[in-house]
């Protein structure tokens, strides 16, 4: 059966390669969607004149899974598991953003311990994401050993995430009203060990790369895009900070208690691939600083808000209290209700500004859930970045954007 809302589809032939003013014939080249350096399924149609790119058009949508549509059919707490799968390298940032948005609608107060746990886990996932980026980006450029070093530390991190949430990657740890589980016994020891070891590891990465002439030649002065273009096209995150704009939602619009932590917003002024690498490297150090503060100042108390209509009751209470059993049944079967309204909440994911725009019609399912994802905005800056550059630099430029195609296509 065909939809009743058909519209005529225009077939668009690929533009004919044109003669350039210098008389050289231009060549159209198709890169992707299966290309090792896009780390996903991104297709770029590139027009070349010699080795110079004259036009580049990214073609996205190969990883579109219709998550926004699916969210409309799930209850509020079921959506949490879907948010994990949007940006699968920093799923906790997505969890956090979703939870904060719904809590804003519910006007829910979150206990301090839950806030600290959230901040700590989100910073872990920031380091995790930057490690994957560093390993694969350097691998693309040609240094293989970095990949193994980065993934060695990532393994430690995943072990910590598993210790806290029971899952290595799709954690769904941050829920509406708090976090899923309290910090497990012995977590301080595990986190302290990581905090002690990791700084020397970052120094190791730095030593490996900073004195490597190939790395420096391939990154310095490559992938320039003007600040005006970036702001106009919606580029955010380390890309923008690498150009000297201190845009970081953790500082500019503090959420989840970030105003209580002492950290630097890392910026660099060179605005090239190297600057973005410097920004991410310093961000790993700053994240570690935040984790250290969480470790030392972790408050006691509840890890979930006192909101029986929203938060699932403890197992013990369900066995002894009638009300707890009723609330549990209500939340699990029909889900909790969220009052009518619309909110927009932006947070800083490892890739940039991630924001959820949620419209509620007062029922137990979101009426509309829109994800403003950083990779989508960042990828829009790809054309001005690589047009006019050499084709060999495309890989370095692409890698420095650190996009996740799941995040782009949703």
């Amino acid at each position: 059966m065909r939809s009743a809302i058909d519209y005529p589809v225009e077939s668009r032939p690929a533009p004919e390669p044109q003669e350039s003013p210098s008389g050289q014939r231009r060549m159209t080249l198709n890169m992707g969607p299966q290309h090792p350096s896009t780390h996903g399924v991104l297709r770029i149609v590139i027009e070349l004149e010699g080795e110079t790119i004259t036009r580049a058009e990214p073609d996205i949508g190969y990883l579109h899974t219709g998550i926004e549509k699916q969210c409309e059919t799930k209850t509020w707490q079921q959506v949490t598991t879907l948010t994990d799968r949007v940006d699968y390298l920093s799923n906790l940032a997505n969890n956090l953003c979703y939870a904060l948005t719904v809590e804003k609608l519910l006007q829910l107060e979150i206990p301090e311990r839950a806030q600290f746990l959230r901040v700590m886990m989100t910073e872990f996932s920031r380091i995790n994401s930057h490690l994957v980026w560093l390993g694969t980006h350097v691998l693309d450029i040609g240094a293989m050993s970095m990949f193994f070093y980065c993934f060695r530390e990532r393994e430690e991190l995943l072990r910590i995430l598993e210790f806290f949430s029971g899952q290595r990657m799709m954690t769904s740890y941050i829920r509406v009203g708090g976090v899923a589980l309290d910090a497990p016994r012995g977590w301080e020891k595990m986190v302290r060990k990581f905090v002690e070891v990791f700084p020397s590891r970052v120094d190791e990465y730095e030593n490996l790369l900073e004195k490597n002439p190939i790395w420096l030649n391939r990154t310095k002065g490559v992938g320039y895009i003007s600040v005006e273009d970036m702001i106009e096209l919606g580029v955010t995150g380390p890309m923008l900070r690498g150009a000297g704009i201190p845009m970081d939602a953790r500082r500019t619009e503090p959420y989840s208690g970030y105003e209580k932590f002492d950290f630097q917003v890392c910026t660099h002024t060179d605005n090239d691939v190297y600057a973005r690498y410097r920004v991410r490297l310093s961000e790993m150090r700053e994240s570690l600083k935040i984790i250290k503060q969480c470790l030392e100042g972790m408050p006691g108390g509840a890890f979930q808000a006192d909101a029986p209509k929203v938060v699932l009751p403890e197992r013990e209470k369900m066995k002894t209290q009638m009300e707890a059993l009723i609330y549990h049944f209500k939340i699990v079967t029909e889900g909790f209700r969220v009052p009518k309204g619309e909110v927009y909440q932006a947070i800083e994911s490892p890739r940039g500004e991630i924001a959820y725009y949620i419209v509620s019609d007062g029922t137990s399912k979101p009426y509309r859930l829109h994800m403003r994802t950083p990779s989508f905005g960042n990828l829009q800056g790809l054309s001005p970045m690589i047009e006019g550059a050499l084709i060999a630099d495309t890989i370095a430029a692409l890698g420095s954007m650190d996009f996740v195609l799941g995040d782009t296509d949703r």
Binding site: D6, G61, K69, E232, L233, G341, A355
Partner: protein, 159 residues
């Protein structure tokens, strides 16, 4: 007449003073300012906000389908000013077509393509209005409320 809570914001008051009648409705909820704009004047308001009020970032453009209401779609713009990081939400209610904001922010391009792809709202004067996430030969617009979640291709009821 706009409510007091809205007019106390300098940006809302400035729009109301410079372009009287362009804001048809406004509210201030959850510390977020929302202005509902007359769809015929959306580009005028956007240009004013960008050039006079300094809203240089377009964070996102999306839509909400209020089927079967009339007008059916609400196009939602989220703007941000990088000077003080203030956010503003604009809305315009339309049935099928609205002027594109690409002439104001070039970054509106992909967001408007996404709205066109997902909701079927057309953007007049858009430089390259075609599908972005779905295949080019796809039929229907998935985020419309009358589009089934499992799609039309895998209908269980109508073999």
């Amino acid at each position: 007449m706009l409510p007091e809570t809205v007019l106390s914001h300098a940006d809302a008051a400035a729009v109301e003073a410079a372009l009287p009648g362009a804001v048809v409705e406004a509210k201030h909820e959850f510390h977020e300012l929302t202005l509902v704009i007359d769809p015929a004047r959306i580009v005028e308001v956007c240009a004013f906000l960008k050039h006079k009020q300094g809203f240089d970032r377009i964070s996102t453009i999306t839509a909400v389908d209020w089927f079967p209401a009339d007008p059916r779609f609400e196009i939602v713009y989220h703007l941000q000013r990088t000077k003080d990081w203030f956010r503003l939400r604009l809305k315009a209610r339309v049935n099928e077509e609205i002027e594109s904001a690409c002439s104001v922010w070039r970054g509106a391009n992909w967001y408007e393509r996404e709205v066109f792809d997902m909701f079927g709202v057309k953007f007049a004067n858009h430089p390259d209005l075609k599908r972005i996430l779905m295949p080019e030969d796809w039929h229907g617009h998935p985020l419309r409320k009358d589009y089934p979640v499992h799609g039309y291709r895998y209908s269980y009821s109508n073999e």
